[in-house]
């Protein structure tokens, strides 16, 4: 094998073992490649031939399985952090947009002839609170994660924690959205179609929750090492 291929082969093997957001992965691999070429250059300066210099650099960098585990932890953590930030921002925004839409196009819910039953109000309050509770949980998780990153807690563990919080948070949000839609359909399905903009906003809220569920699932996949 030509000497120029030793580093390339190592980086390719590392690449194959990693799953996660491409920009972060490409950045990590570019830095690893740079470091290996720097190390190989240092060994060449000490008199080693090109291929031997690259083999020494690769050996010093560490076994690809060991290094891949550490890098995968970083990728999982990066994805988990990004997902929690999305949860923190998107869910309250979707909730506020829906409420503004409803207030503008329909007005207050209590304009209806008959007041809704208690069970419906419970579901509605749960859905109203869930956006803020879930966003608060995401903020708390990000702050705690930042503190834990200063301890000896590994990036793999941090990534798993982020994934668990993301799954629970998105699950609660999705449950709230589905519950209020189902409850409204059961109580009076016509209310779901009172106003096209509000119906569209409801569809957007559901789509946002489903999209976040996909992201949360990926958090778990990427933090699995």
């Amino acid at each position: 094998m030509a000497g120029a291929g030793v580093i390339d082969e190592y980086v390719t093997a590392l690449d194959r073992r990693l799953r996660g957001p491409d920009p972060v992965k490409d950045d990590l691999l570019a830095e690893a490649r740079d470091s290996l070429h720097d190390a190989a250059a240092a060994h060449r300066d000490r008199g080693l031939a090109e291929e031997d210099a690259q083999r020494r650099a690769v050996a010093e960098f560490g076994p690809v399985t060991t290094i891949a585990r550490e890098y995968q932890g970083l990728l999982g953590l990066a994805y988990g952090t990004r997902t929690l930030r999305s949860v923190m921002l998107v869910l309250p925004l979707a909730y506020v947009m829906w409420e503004l839409n409803r207030a503008f196009w329909i007005g207050a819910w209590d304009d209806f002839d008959a007041p809704p039953p208690d069970w419906y109000l419970t579901v509605a309050r749960f859905n109203d609170a869930s956006a803020w509770l879930v966003a608060g949980a995401a903020v708390l998780a990000l702050l705690v994660g930042r503190r834990l990153a200063r301890t000896r807690v590994s990036t793999v563990t941090l990534a798993r924690l982020a994934g668990v919080v993301a799954v629970v948070a998105v699950g609660v949000s999705l449950l709230g959205t589905v519950a209020i839609l189902a409850a409204t359909a059961y109580l009076d399905a016509a209310r779901l179609f009172l106003s096209l903009p509000v119906t569209a906003a409801s569809a957007v809220s559901l789509a946002v929750a489903l999209r976040l569920a996909v992201l949360a699932r990926r958090c778990v996949v990427f933090s699995s090492v």
Partner: protein, 112 residues
């Protein structure tokens, strides 16, 4: 030096190498090896994840910049990182002083 013993102090060692200014990854590895007299034999590939974790913790910041005509990711201490390094140094001095008092200075005099 055993990797396990080193790993427990890796964060502090990385912060210390950045105390003099920003460095790219391989320069940090060279500084670690030079300042330890070559005793630090940790796989160099583990240094980068450690640096990124310190970045997540807000103790270092990084950016791509041109060094020696090449694009490299360079790292620097943040203010929080500087405070963390100062705290690590203080804790290390207290620890080594305590251990030196017990282990240093040769055999203890026999008790009367």
């Amino acid at each position: 030096m055993k990797s396990d013993a080193l790993r427990g102090h890796l964060d502090a060692l990385l912060l210390a190498t950045l105390d003099g200014g920003q460095l790219h990854g391989y320069a940090i590895i060279e500084a670690l090896q030079r300042r330890s007299g070559g005793a630090l034999d940790l796989p160099t590939g583990t240094v980068y994840p450690a640096l990124r974790r310190l970045e997540t913790a807000g103790l270092v910041a990084s950016e791509w910049s041109t060094v020696g005509g090449r694009q490299r990711r360079t790292y620097r201490l943040t203010k929080a990182g500087q405070r963390a390094l100062d705290a690590e140094r203080t804790a290390w001095r207290e620890f080594t002083a305590a251990i030196e008092g017990v282990l240093g200075g040769g055999p203890w005099p026999a008790q009367a």
